[in-house]
């Protein structure tokens, strides 16, 4: 991917993807915001960690597609991915372990509060947060893994 500032190799003297860049700069925060809406509205309506995770990952992937993998890796370092995956699983499993320590069955969220319904509420929040973290990072990991294998597409091949 060409550097947006470097226009010397372009005969027209301007960035051919300027429209894409402007629109995606506007869209990416909205996509991320929508991901969090899906995540936290998942308590009351359709939604949840899986869907939100994929949407959140899509915002990073869109960034990578438009601004290049190197830029995306600067914004979301691959180092974070491994820790993110583990953190998500630990949040999920840890909730189960906490339930278990509090005297319930594994993943029995009712133990999290004095009232079963509130407990279920807290539990599913923690679980979905874990799912969000893992799904987001795994999706980005898959994209990075495949994206990094080949030299990037040159501007002429678009």
């Amino acid at each position: 991917m060409s550097d947006p500032q470097n226009t010397s190799d372009n005969p027209l003297g301007r960035d051919p993807h300027v429209l894409l860049r402007v629109i995606s700069k506007f869209l990416i925060p909205l996509i991320a915001l929508f991901a969090f809406y899906v995540q936290f509205h998942g308590d009351y309506g359709p939604g949840g960690g899986f869907q939100a995770g994929v949407i959140l990952a899509a915002s990073v992937i869109l960034y990578a597609l438009v601004f290049g993998l190197a830029e995306a890796k600067r914004a979301f370092p691959p180092r974070l991915i491994r820790y993110g995956m583990t953190l998500g699983v630990l949040l999920y499993g840890g909730t189960g372990v906490v339930n278990f320590i509090l005297g319930g069955e594994f993943l029995n969220y009712s133990t999290l509060a004095s009232d079963a319904a509130t407990g279920q509420h807290y539990g599913i929040l923690a679980i979905e947060l874990g799912v969000l973290t893992t799904v987001t990072t795994v999706m980005i990991a898959i994209f990075y893994a495949f994206g990094s294998r080949q030299p990037e597409t040159s501007d002429e091949d678009w």
């Binding site: 820790y83 583990t86 630990l90 372990v97 339930n99 069955e105 594994f106 029995n108 969220y109």
Partner: protein, 507 residues
């Protein structure tokens, strides 16, 4: 039960969830461990704890009978339940013990076979695979079984592909395994879908009850049964569906092969037992027909053809892989005769064969580790160059053939007796015949090892070069286990009989 008194109560009660949650969580942690020795140590500790848990759960099960664990506190037909009964307790112990033994062996083996930066992911995938296998065995919910089946399968594809550092054919073997394994799992999930259509539940005990009420159900449940048998048949390498197995066994890293050979197909076979006898019932005509014609038929054809194919292999690992397909035939024969004695014999062979084949692949891995041996003709003189490894290989090989006072003999004689009792004399003949075929392919290798002198390299005879202790110990544990089972089979036969009685409702 003095041993059980040492085990805390919470472990006995929450054991089923613990069995699958511990390796799952630890797999995630192992993946980010920077140091590969720490990764090995954490895997070692996890499998040690799992073995302890599995043993205490099995003993507890023998004492109090079937137990049910409500996952998340949700009561069964709606919630996911984990069930421990006489049928799956021995399989749980088998998986945990084989994982533990393989991990000890994996320490030196991974150093030789896996690149340093891949070792932590290797152990993570290994733990995931264990979690999947244990999960699919303890689960009492049909869809949950599918999920864990895929967890174990997907991590196994990765493990098999890691053999690429040693042999590039591991990649295409893993790819073929992925395609056929996914088709198998998808067939299974289609079957579960049809069962859900018919019964409106996913809980296996509930399904069994509703199907019994409907007297076997309509055509939908027949379709479901067909899909499930084919799907699981792919996973357990039933004869014409075994195409993925030789490649995957031959080119995977050696610890993976040993673990895979002793657990993956066995867990799938356990599921077949669970579905044919527990969810469905042999009293429905379509189930009886499938048992009688499909399982027995394919089992016997598999025994003959795979044994013959094993004889003509030049690669030892492929030879043992084809032998595995043949041994699956024995188990299917036992399942197909469908008397208490025969199912018990098939189940016993499942456990015994896991011990035998696991040990054989460990011995083979040690030979590769020292001399790079994969071909049958490389075995010449191994009796002198690696006496201990070859000793274990010999004991286990004879056990595979079915020589008296070995594990293989016990299960084969039980199977032959059961077949004879049911009046299936031709099956007894087939068992004899395939044992002779096994003698040919094992004997060929043993003769090569003991009656030929070691090869000369650059004019010097190859020196004695024994495998490291961490490889010898696991394989000798299995070799001794196979002899102990052969001499004193009471415990194993009891366990298998209790499983069969539970399945056939004759207990």
């Amino acid at each position: 039960m003095s041993f059980l008194e040492l085990i805390p109560d919470w472990l006995l009660i929450h054991g089923p969830a613990f069995l699958m949650a511990l390796p799952l969580i630890m797999a995630a942690i192992t993946a980010i461990l920077p140091n590969k020795r720490v990764a090995w140590a954490s895997t070692f500790i996890v499998t040690a704890i799992l073995t302890l848990t599995a043993f205490s759960i099995a003993l507890y099960n023998a004492e109090v009978g079937s137990t049910l664990y409500k996952m998340g506190g949700w009561a069964p037909p709606h919630g996911i339940s984990l069930v421990i009964d006489a049928l799956n307790a021995p399989v749980i112990v088998l998986i945990a013990v084989m994982a533990f033994i393989t991990v000890i062996y994996a320490m030196p083996a991974t150093i030789a076979e896996i690149k340093p930066n891949k070792r932590a992911p290797f152990y993570a995938a290994f733990l995931l695979s264990i979690a999947g296998l244990l999960g699919m065995v303890v689960s009492g919910d049909a869809f949950n079984v599918f999920v864990f089946l895929e967890v174990s399968s997907i991590s196994t594809y990765v493990l098999v592909a890691m053999g690429a550092a040693r042999d590039r054919r591991a990649l295409s073997a893993a790819y073929n395994y992925l395609i056929l394994g996914s088709i198998g799992a998808t067939f299974f999930v289609i079957g579960v879908g049809f069962l859900y259509m018919e019964t409106g539940t996913l809980n296996m005990a509930d399904m069994a009850r509703i199907l019994a009420d409907m007297d076997g159900g309509s055509r939908v449940s027949k379709i479901a049964f067909g899909f499930i048998v084919i799907g699981l048949g792919l996973k357990l390498a039933m004869f014409p569906l075994h195409a993925w197995l030789p490649g995957a066994y031959a080119y995977a890293p050696t610890p993976v092969t040993a673990f895979l050979a002793s657990t993956a197909t066995k867990a799938a076979l356990y599921l077949l037992l669970r579905f044919t006898f527990f969810v469905f019932d042999p009293s429905y005509t379509y189930v009886a027909d499938v048992l009688m014609f499909v399982l027995v038929g394919l089992g016997v054809i598999g025994m003959l053809f795979a044994s013959l194919q094993a004889i003509f292999q030049t690669d030892v690992r492929r030879m043992l892989a084809f032998s595995s397909v043949a041994q699956v035939g024995y188990m299917l024969l036992g399942v197909g005769i469908a008397t208490t004695a025969s199912v018990a014999a098939g189940y016993l062979h499942l456990l015994n064969h896991a011990v035998i084949k696991g040990g054989l692949f460990l011995a083979l891995g040690a030979m590769w580790y020292r001399f790079g041996i994969t071909r049958t003709q490389d075995f010449q003189g191994l009796g002198q160059t690696m006496p201990w490894t070859m000793g274990a290989f010999t004991i286990l090989g004879l056990s595979l053939v079915g020589v008296p006072f070995t594990a293989g003999f016990v299960s084969k004689i039980n199977l032959a007796e059961a077949a004879a009792d049911a009046g299936w004399w031709w099956a007894v003949g087939i068992i004899m015949l395939t044992s002779i075929l096994a003698l040919i392919y094992i004997g060929r290798v043993l003769l090569m090892a003991y009656f030929q002198s070691p090869p000369e390299v650059n004019g010097n005879v190859v020196d004695r070069n024994e495998a490291p202790l961490m490889m010898l110990f696991p394989m000798w544990v299995l070799a001794i286990a196979s002899v102990v089972i052969g001499v004193e089979a009471g415990v194993m036969v009891d366990a298998a009989t209790r499983a069969a009685e539970l399945l056939l409702g004759t207990g």
